[in-house]
Subunit: 123 residues, 2 copies
DNA sequence: CGTCATACTTCCTTTTTTGTTAGTACCACA
DNA sequence: TGTGGTACTAACAAAAAAGGAAGTATGACG
């Protein structure tokens, strides 16, 4: 419960844009510092919480938990808890998550190309 | 000039991730509330500042200026000033900007599909 | 009873992003 | 001299995202 000005348009703008176009809606689900990376790491294989932590440089427990929760809520990642001690939890992509992988691959390809192009630009 | 803790890892994390993978680097260039939308509106035609303002719901002068400046700096958009009064400034996509359009189209397609899928989901 | 390992949660601070308000320069034209 | 239209800019405020530090439940094992 955060207090927010009753006239806030910050929140409204996001909602308007999300309804207005699937692109900004998607960006909203994928935005943030870690989400694309998490999806990427889950593409080939399911992984445990601790395994994700190992492969994601500098992420904290808190951020990993938060991002996974949102991805789960948004239907991109499935979470399976094994009733063991110590606990074991596995994360894997859903069908929707997998459906997105061509897109982030093309994003990665563009990113690498564009970076080279701008880095070698004169001026 | 904002003051920042010398030990801040927020900034560092972004840089690390951007260098680590073209996907997060790209996301960094495209992230934020308006950028993809601006690119999208410029895909078919060049537009003036005031024209962009008209087609972007609820954007403010300030945000439009900021986002255009970053897109220009990042080599996605070209800016042309005409020495007239009142001033006229036109924005258009660069080659890199155009190269990205298949990607945001697939993002949009995925977004629309995914939204339908999750909205109609039971539970 | 104390320790271990995993996967978290809670409370709080800092940093980043977005929005608000009120301006400015330019020159033609009335 | 005053108004009009365009494309901004500066100072400030609010909201959102990210990070830091410390704590919790579980049950096997010693």
């Amino acid at each position: 419960m955060t207090t927010r000005k009753p006239t806030s348009t910050n929140q409204r703008n996001r909602q308007v844009l999300d309804e207005y176009c699937g692109m900004t809606y998607a960006l909203h689900l994928l935005g943030g510092r870690w989400k694309l990376l998490i999806l990427y790491k889950l593409e080939q294989q399911k992984r445990r919480f601790s395994e994700l932590k190992q492969v994601l440089p500098h992420i904290t427990d808190r951020m990993l938990t938060l991002q996974l929760r949102e991805l789960e809520h948004d239907g991109l990642v499935a979470r399976t808890v094994f009733a063991e001690v110590p606990p074991r939890v596995e994360y894997e992509l859903t069908a929707s998550g997998h459906a997105l992988s061509p897109t982030w691959k093309s994003l990665e390809a563009w990113g690498n190309t564009h970076r080279q192009a701008t880095e070698t630009m004169p001026g």
